[in-house]
């Protein structure tokens, strides 16, 4: 079993669908942040079989963590202060997200029109389904 130490101050993004950690890493631009990051992939999970986890030591200002729900609606976020969990969050799925999800439908106007905001709306809250406002194709998280 792989062991990663606990963190003192920061957040743990847990229950990321296996294989999805790097997308979140990239969205949060963690590479350019002044914090230590551990990305754990394919961790065992009773609930999910396999999952990814990101542990971030440090503070992430100006980040709307709810947006992460649009990227993966199952994730949970633990806020850690002085080594203990002070808050557990399930991101609320925002009704709209702009320029977070990119439409990959080659028939969509976003594939040819420069400078368009890639805009998604939530159409099925229970299953976390987002659809492109232009072509209405559901965002494929694979």
């Amino acid at each position: 079993m792989l062991n990663i130490g606990g963190i003192n101050q920061g957040i743990v993004i847990d229950h990321i669908k296996a294989g999805g950690a790097m997308k979140i890493y990239s969205y949060l631009d963690l590479e350019n942040k002044d914090c230590s990051v551990a990305v754990i992939k394919n961790a065992r999970s009773n609930k999910m079989g396999k999952k990814d986890i990101i542990k971030i030591e440090g503070t992430l200002d100006d980040i709307d963590l709810d947006i992460l729900g649009a990227l993966d609606h199952q994730i949970t976020i633990d806020v850690i202060e002085n080594g203990i969990i002070v808050e557990k969050k399930n991101p609320k799925l925002p009704d709209h997200v702009n320029n977070v999800l990119k439409c990959k439908n080659p028939r969509c106007i976003t594939s040819i029109e420069q400078g368009l905001v890639h805009s998604y709306k939530l159409t099925d809250r229970a299953n976390g389904v987002y659809r492109c406002v232009y072509c209405e194709q559901a965002f494929d998280r694979r």
């Binding site: 028939r107 106007i109 976003t110 029109e113 368009l116 159409t123 389904v129 406002v133 232009y134 209405e136």
Partner: protein, 306 residues
């Protein structure tokens, strides 16, 4: 100012008003022949279409208005790389209202975001075609006298057929609507329509492969063409294109007052022998298309009734 991008951009009561106005126009077209005098409709057709473009143009001319536009991307500045957003900003200063057809899904929505005149979606790829849906609804309402308490059969390509998806979306808003979805396995209605539209509205529907078995139940039979341009693989198209052919023999199984609709163009899915059957109303449907577009132009331009 209102745009029409999707068939559900009009509420049920707005739609009622639209269809009522269209029926007034049917009763007395002359009364409306000058109501748009001095107004201009721009038809921005980035892909070829005969029927829809001419129907829009006929509608505006019938109202006494004028038309301008282009009928393919090659003959527009799109061929020079101009964006939809820029084109519509310019066209807004030339015309009072525009109808746009574009091969890319969502292009009319982009246009509406930058336009200072009402934008009507005249078809965006395989996505929406609201004026076809309004045409279908006017045809049903005018010839059946109602839009509720109907069993509607859709037959053919229910997977790629945008007219089918749009009409389903529009009809689920009425009471006591049942659907019979007749298609080969490969061309079934997509799962998201079943889950997010039919199940979400508690609509009763059945899926079947057998057109004959469904015929006696139907108040409306909506036939569709299997569209070659939607297939990536020609073999699949050839295998599926002749799955359903409606001919006189099958029509004998139907109710005496069932209506056969088709968005046209048809290829061979309705035998020409059916054309003379009074229940075959697809050519009337094309005529209704002009009336409903006349009504829509009047509503969007907020033109007073004559």
């Amino acid at each position: 100012m209102k745009h029409i991008i999707s068939p559900t951009d009009l509420t049920v009561s707005e739609l009622d008003e639209l269809l009522t106005l269209a029926e007034e126009i049917i009763q007395n077209p002359k009364k409306f022949s000058e109501v748009c005098r001095g107004k201009k409709l721009a038809t921005l057709f980035y892909e070829p279409s005969t029927r829809t473009r001419l129907s829009f143009e006929a509608a505006m001319l019938n109202l006494g208005g004028s038309i301008l536009g282009f009928s393919s991307a090659d003959s527009s500045s799109a061929s020079k790389g101009e964006s939809v957003a820029d084109t519509i900003r310019v066209i807004s200063s030339y015309a009072d209202i525009c109808a746009i057809r574009h091969p890319k899904e969502g292009a009319p929505l982009v246009a509406s975001n930058y336009s200072s005149i009402p934008v009507i979606n005249a078809g965006d790829g395989g996505h929406n075609h609201p004026t076809q849906t309004f045409t279908d609804l006017l045809t049903i309402k005018n010839l059946k006298g109602r839009l509720d308490k109907l069993t509607v059969g859709f037959c053919g390509d229910l997977k790629f057929g945008r007219t089918v998806h749009s009409l389903i979306n529009a009809l689920v808003r009425y009471e006591d609507i049942n659907f019979v979805l007749i298609s080969p396995e490969e061309l079934r209605v997509p799962a998201y329509i079943r889950e997010e539209v039919l199940d979400a509205h508690n609509i009763s529907y059945e899926e079947t492969r057998k057109l004959e078995a469904a015929m006696p139940k139907l108040d409306i039979l909506y036939m569709t063409r299997v569209q070659k341009e939607r297939f990536f693989n020609e073999e699949d198209y050839i295998r599926l294109k002749d799955t359903y052919i409606l001919e006189e023999k099958k029509m004998t199984l139907a109710k005496k007052d069932m209506l056969v609709l088709h968005p046209l163009p048809r290829v061979n899915e309705i035998a020409t022998e059916v054309d003379d059957d009074p229940r075959a109303v697809y050519f009337k449907q094309a005529q209704f298309g002009v009336y409903v577009r006349m009504a829509l132009i009047m509503k969007l331009l907020e033109v007073e009734n004559a």
